[in-house]
């Protein structure tokens, strides 16, 4: 399916200014299927995700949203008996050409349930991933922590207690801490697996605002149960149903004039 971006020109200028290569797509999947044992979790997914956009993946439970997301940073490898066919291109390079560690440095992930490291302080949590990457710091750890906490809109709330344990924070704050930890490793793509489903509306709002602000720096893919959220935060929306990608289009279009009947039935609440 062909999607023409309204702001195509603007987008390319933006890329040039930032000195990135001109490729428009952060992620391309071709006939991507994932099997757990004999069961197919997702079937022949073809998806092209543009750089610096927010894409949501919606669909009823068990439709393979999370599986698709987790295959993009090879997290599915943690599950035994997983078989993947088809190709995934991340930033114009086939996923098999990446070292898995490097890949996960480029493709960060935020989980459904906030999972800060409980034995570490707020400060240590933010810097933990960066330390793992073993990069030579171009700025001091203090600067990285401050920058990432400011970016994740948590700095003002925690700047006086950076050495307190991370679990002393509220759920919403913990999730923003996890986002700070993810952006500290300087990824280009951020995968979010229902990042707000365990949070209250106010925290959800804060994180949605973050996603909006992040668009200039990152490509974001967010799995969500919440169709309003998809409509609010994303530029593109993919609708999945029992392992199939039913429709993928600009969010505005998918929610107003869907081309597939199934999509229409889902977004109008006839099932799901």
């Amino acid at each position: 399916m062909k999607v023409i971006l309204d702001t195509e020109l603007k987008f390319e200028e933006h890329q040039k200014l930032k000195g990135k290569d001109s490729s428009k797509f952060a992620i391309t999947t071709t006939d991507l299927s994932v099997h757990f044992g004999l069961k197919a979790a997702i079937k022949k997914i073809n998806l092209k995700i543009r750089r610096n956009t927010v894409t949501s993946i919606i669909g009823p439970s068990g439709c393979g949203k999370s599986t698709l997301l987790r295959s993009l940073n090879l997290m599915h490898e943690l599950t035994p008996r997983t078989k993947v066919t088809g190709t995934i291109k991340i930033l114009d390079k086939d996923i098999t050409e990446y070292d898995v560690i490097n890949l996960r440095n480029k493709v960060g992930m935020v989980f459904q349930k906030p999972n800060p490291f409980p034995k570490m302080s707020i400060y240590e949590n933010v810097i933990s991933g960066y330390k793992l990457s073993g990069k030579n710091p171009s700025e001091s750890f203090d600067d990285i922590v401050e920058r990432c906490l400011i970016h994740s809109a948590l700095w003002d709330e925690v700047k006086d207690r950076l050495n307190k344990p991370a679990i002393s924070l509220s759920g919403g704050q913990q999730q923003r801490l996890c986002i700070a930890r993810t952006i500290a490793i300087n990824p280009e793509i951020i995968l979010m697996d229902e990042p707000t489903s365990a949070l209250d509306p106010l925290s959800t709002m804060k994180i949605e605002k973050l996603i909006h602000d992040f668009k200039n720096d990152y490509t974001i893919i967010i799995v969500t149960h919440n169709m309003q959220q998809a409509a609010r935060v994303s530029d593109f929306t993919a609708f999945m149903f029992i392992g199939d990608l039913v429709e993928f289009d600009k969010t505005k279009k998918l929610f107003t004039v869907p081309t597939v009947k199934l999509t229409e039935e889902y977004i109008t609440g006839k099932f799901g």
Binding site: N73, M75, L78, P80, I101, N102, R104, N105, G108, M109, F111, K113, N115, P116, F117, P118, K119, M120, S128, G129, L132, S133, C178, R181, T182, I185
Partner: protein, 319 residues
């Protein structure tokens, strides 16, 4: 339909009968629970009471003196405390790295089939009677120690005072090795459970940040730290109290020697060896005081360990 409604009056009887049986049941189980506590207190009381003779004769000197001469009626437990402490610490030094390695392998790395087989074997190891370990110690380990391991240690580490003296086969080091084998199952099993209690989301968090397998495991170990310490202390407690196998390989001489090759004696061993033939009241009373000492030490060690393990598993969310 009318059948199901009991005639007026019987309703009350049924309810009260139920209550009565429940009452008996509850109280009975409560009494059983109290019995455990009662037995423990009783044991403490008896040991305290019967060690009175020795306590009044030697006072605190009992712990600081290493003279144990039944003939001259002099009793001091220091040599036994030393033997127990050193053999247990040696056991811990040998067992901890091994157990931790196995626990990590079992909880994080092993494929399912190996995991269940190995767990089974480890539980079997824990169930072997200690006398069997003692036999094995005498007939297999001690000769091996005498002809191979001790000469080897002497050759390469002989400059250390710990590895000097005659390689006898039996002694502190042999006891330490036997004890190590005996406490590996308990440390392994508990460490594995503690590691398993770390939620999967923690490992995913580490992997998603680009952690290698080893780094993710390190992260899990950091979370499990106090639980693993608890498992270690529990294993230590077991080593301190172990009697039969140690008695058979430690050499049974009430001496304090820096060398691990020398024979020694433990608190548990001296009680086992001398209790049957102690005819003097003071001798018997001293042995009971050694028992009291041993009880106190293991009680403290175990309480501490349980507390540590509890602090970890209490907050475990499951996987």
């Amino acid at each position: 339909m009318n059948k199901s409604i009991p005639p007026h009056g019987t309703e009350k009887v049924i309810i009260s009968r139920k209550k009565f049986s429940d009452l008996i049941f509850e109280n009975l189980t409560f009494v059983f629970a109290l019995m455990i506590l009662g037995i423990v207190l009783w044991i403490i009381y008896e040991m305290y009471f019967y060690s009175g003779e020795s306590r009044s004769a030697f006072g605190w000197e009992f712990i600081w003196s290493n003279e144990w001469e039944p003939v001259r009626k002099e009793f001091g437990a220091l040599a036994f405390v030393y033997g127990t402490a050193v053999s247990s610490i040696l056991a811990l030094i040998i067992a901890l790295p091994l157990s931790l390695g196995v626990a990590i392998f079992l909880s994080e790395l092993a494929p399912k089939i190996i995991k269940s087989t190995l767990s089974f074997v480890i539980e079997i190891l824990a169930a072997i009677p200690s006398i069997i370990f003692g036999f094995w110690g005498i007939f297999v380990l001690a000769p091996f120690m005498r002809s191979d391991l001790q000469p080897f240690l002497q050759k390469y580490f002989g400059y250390l005072p710990f590895f000097q003296g005659t390689p006898l086969g039996t002694g502190l080091l042999t006891a330490g090795i036997i004890l190590a084998i005996m406490i590996i199952p308990i440390i392994t099993a508990i460490s594995r459970d503690v590691l398993k209690a770390i939620p999967q989301s923690q490992r995913e968090a580490a992997y998603a940040l680009g952690a290698t397998k080893w780094e993710a495991i390190k992260m899990a170990l950091l979370n499990a730290k106090s639980g693993i310490l608890g498992a270690t202390v529990l294993g230590f407690g077991r080593a301190v109290g172990e009697t039969m196998a140690v008695t058979m390989v430690i050499g049974n001489r009430a001496d304090i020697n820096i060398s691990f090759f020398e024979p020694a004696y433990t608190m548990a061993s001296v009680i086992a060896n001398e209790f049957a033939e102690a005819s003097e009241i003071l001798h018997l009373s001293s042995l009971i005081e050694v028992g009291l000492l041993l009880f106190g030490v293991t009680f403290l060690i175990n309480s501490f360990a349980r507390l540590l393990i509890f602090s970890v598993t209490r907050n475990a969310e499951g996987r």
